[in-house]
Symmetry: C2
Subunit: 386 residues, 2 copies
Amino acid sequence: MAQPHDLPFSVDEYRSRVAKVQAEMARRGIDVLMINHLENIYYLSGYRTIGYYSFMALFVPPSGDPVHLCRLIEKTVLQGSSWIDDMDLYPDTERGLDAALRLIKSRKWDRLRIGIDKSAWYLTIDDFEKLQAALPQAKWVDSSLLVENMRLIKSPAEQAYSRKAGKAASEGMRSALAALRAGITEDDLMAAAYQGLFRMHSEYPGLPPLINSGVRHTMAHAMAEGNPVRQGDAVYFEIGASIKRYHAATLRIGYVGTPPKLFLDLTDLCRRSLDAGLKQMKPGNPAEAVDAAARKVIADAGYGDKFRHKAGYSIGIALPPDWSEARTMMLRGGEKRPLQPGMVYHFLPAVFEYKEYGVGLSETVLITENGHEILTDVEQKLFVVK
Amino acid sequence: MAQPHDLPFSVDEYRSRVAKVQAEMARRGIDVLMINHLENIYYLSGYRTIGYYSFMALFVPPSGDPVHLCRLIEKTVLQGSSWIDDMDLYPDTERGLDAALRLIKSRKWDRLRIGIDKSAWYLTIDDFEKLQAALPQAKWVDSSLLVENMRLIKSPAEQAYSRKAGKAASEGMRSALAALRAGITEDDLMAAAYQGLFRMHSEYPGLPPLINSGVRHTMAHAMAEGNPVRQGDAVYFEIGASIKRYHAATLRIGYVGTPPKLFLDLTDLCRRSLDAGLKQMKPGNPAEAVDAAARKVIADAGYGDKFRHKAGYSIGIALPPDWSEARTMMLRGGEKRPLQPGMVYHFLPAVFEYKEYGVGLSETVLITENGHEILTDVEQKLFVVK
């Protein structure tokens, strides 16, 4: 038995997750599942590393424990973080895909029905073409989102991490907002955000704190680059935290000086949009109802074409370059699946126009048996510093 | 003409890069190139965003300016960061791949030879199968690493950013090392590292500061999780910085208390390994010579099987989840391409054994006309705090 230094969940919980995956594999006629996204590997094993930019896989057989395939340099972090003993390691002079072929053949899986995630980033077109060429007898079954769908509903132990992440994201936000004043830079605000995050034990989040000042606050998705904060600048703050890779995030806007009426009005608009959407956040409602309610408020005020994104997305286990589970489920038009207790969403109405404004408000929200619980807790207002 | 808020290079430099890509396309018989990795899109356009977790592309025609395809929410950050006017935006109710099909057809590219990067993460197997099905007349040409290979040799303007990144990474390291003492946690060291990084205007780097204490310092690639730093703990520090997305990184080990002789010996071993490799870092030498020289020192001392990774990798433009250009070129056995002036490498000999030790030393190194220039500048020693 492996002796990991620290497991986020009990081995029993991991084994029950693996058993669920194996049951779903049987249902879909998959003999062996190859998992390439570390979020999914982590969900089943505890293994976490920065090294997922190199080829890695967890192979799940029809029964029994899975096996890790990783670069040799991953050995110590595998030993220290996964409950799974069985690991196959390849040196940097070998291609990861060749190592996978070797493993598949040595375990006599090369004539089986192998599940692969065709929508995964970390199994490339080139990898798949090589697999097909080298294993002509294998059958390839698309297993996209098989594990992701299981992650949508968080267990009580997972919800506890999400709650802590909500507190950490809020502390990161408060710490950054408290540092806001004319004469500093985005750099200073980034440092302040991280101080708040680390004070509450956040790990490196899936996305950086988004902190952008002046013209750049109108550029949705820009990254801080050390620009100055001047009198009369609005500043965009979107800050997420990670606790055992479970994420929560929140969005607020700051203003240095006397804000134009437009910024106060748009903040009020986003708050009303948020309220309208929150009313829809209860079990049984289709996810798109949240988007529709939030969007109607903003459209009715004449800003519909400035609300350019889906209203929100599932949020949970994540690694850079994202903190969302948007691949799995979003709060957007057309998403008719119902909200269910244990789901967690980052819900973020916002409006943007280049060089004019970027205003929004967001919360991370857990769906409960009776409605919802907001996990982030920063005051909902425009944060004005004179 | 677009009016970006801030361009890292002149429009002339961008146009000359595009022209080089178009010349290479002509050489390979590619009519239109679809680029999906933001590092490559950024290299040609200046466009930078956190939003590359959603489908995006830059299409490069045989002549004339490229065109962006992105989610609608990217509009403002595109306007603010790219010199390219032409942009096609899709709403969150449309699939990105469907938008790409629409664009390809509307520009009458659907019977041409289209270059795609089959080793790219952000063009999935599923995407490619849909492209092939929807555009049966198109020919698909693998353009893997076409742009990446051009990025290997940095221009003087790019080298200036790499140099600044080297200074910022070093300041992050010094700031973290200065905070080291018993009784604090990895969180405190992370906050200190970021303070140093942001003081020198680093952006969010492609990887987090790797700061791991105690048993976890032996787990290569672990991420900080707030563990305590106690008397008798070694601490692993690997810290990178980003300036206009150009990266540099450095690795040092700290020790709280009186270090066992083994840690001093291994530090000395890694320093000798580093020296041996640096002697090989000059134009014309094959990249593998650096790895071989560094590895020989460590193998001769009996630690060859603990040096589990390639000796280094090209480092430059990067976005999470990596700061390397390892996909393009590494310092590893079998890499016979020569080092050339303008290349930048992160060179990191290190040895790991779970629960026993993790020791290494690294520098970021620019290859020059006459040899090399080390861009990071932290003292090469074991940092002992009593």
